[in-house]
Symmetry: C2
Subunit: 187 residues, 2 copies
DNA sequence: CAATGCACTTTACATATGATAAGTAATTAC
DNA sequence: GTAATTACTTATCATATGTAAAGTGCATTG
């Protein structure tokens, strides 16, 4: 849990009792490469912390796999639109590599907020950050061309190219794998 | 302030002292149709509640006006990516109609969180809801075609068509006004 | 009331992206 | 180590959307 501890410290340090309470509703789980961590149609009741490996969130559009997002080590992952609405998600979470996670029971977490304001503050900040990332991603999709989005990805997250198949990156950028190939071929 | 009170009650009722504290950092402001509430390049330090009227958030892409979002009565508006990061926003907020707002001083609000956990919870929930809306919008842009997005807008927010010029709706949908015209002409 | 401007539509043409299919390279499985 | 599968690229053609320009209707204004 040391890794999660460091992550927490970097955002909002917790008093010992709050940490204990958090750990009491957390457990370690592992997933093999290419297996679903949570399937489509499942209501999100778990917040994951990635110890090792990589996850992606994806959706099936008329049977075609479309990637919404990637996450790697030392990040929190959840399908917010399901977690905060209580509705089933149309998206799944998949392990892109053999992945070790810490699973935090979300309903239990939300109950702990009453007793540990520091926990509420920590996760408020975590999800504010996630919100900001989502807005920035929205801007990217709405305001930039596919080629700009690819160049920005190269600039900002070059490691993604090393760890994620291009077919997933293509749909993440909002284009087909064929189109991404063309964009990459230009230069 | 009654209107804001009702809005708050619907999300997370506040004790009297927390309400007073919130009102003490809030003020009423008005904007004429087509004026900027906040300009591009401004760091967002205000959270607005719309009493009456309509706002949009927009961006200039190579000099071309692109609308990110619309908000109407009884909604909270802020540019999250600036508010929560402290960075200047590349986007502006504009009044689409003569608009009456309640302006909440955001840095002051964040300080109040220490003394009024109920305030922190209220705004945590408000921004969680906003986060969910942003994720749903991201899904819409990434997973659906322009025509599907228009049909969904018709279905879910038909009043927007009555209150907002089509040119703004077009860029909101990620297409040009010409392309929207074509989509509308089909049926 | 005429005139100007603005929102919107329509047309014609250009271009980017999609769909399909074939070919190559890399990876996985036996 | 070879075969089979998967990932990626390339080519061709179809299509949706963009750009530019012209036209229509409505509203605002002097």
């Amino acid at each position: 849990m040391q890794q999660l501890l460091n992550y927490i410290k970097s955002i909002h340090p917790l008093p010992a009792e709050a940490l204990e309470a958090l750990f009491s509703i957390s457990s370690e789980v592992s997933f093999k490469k290419n297996t679903d961590v949570q399937p489509i149609g499942h209501t999100c009741r778990t917040v994951y912390f990635i110890k090792k490996g990589a996850l992606r969130i994806y959706y099936l559009k008329d049977g075609v796999d479309v990637t919404e997002s990637f996450e790697f080590e030392n990040a929190i992952v959840a399908r917010a639109e399901s977690l905060f609405s209580g509705k089933p998600s149309k998206k799944a979470i998949q392990a892109l590599e053999d992945t070790a996670l810490i699973a935090i029971n979300a309903p239990a977490l939300f109950k702990l907020y009453d007793d540990y304001p520091s926990l509420e503050r920590l996760f408020r900040k975590i999800f504010e950050d996630a919100y900001v990332k989502t807005v920035v991603r929205l801007e990217s999709l709405q305001f930039h061309t596919a080629e700009e989005r690819y160049q920005n990805l190269l600039k900002d997250h070059p490691y993604i190219l090393q760890r994620v198949p291009l077919k997933y990156i293509a749909s993440y950028l909002g284009i087909t794998a064929v189109s991404l190939s063309r964009i990459r071929a230009i230069k």
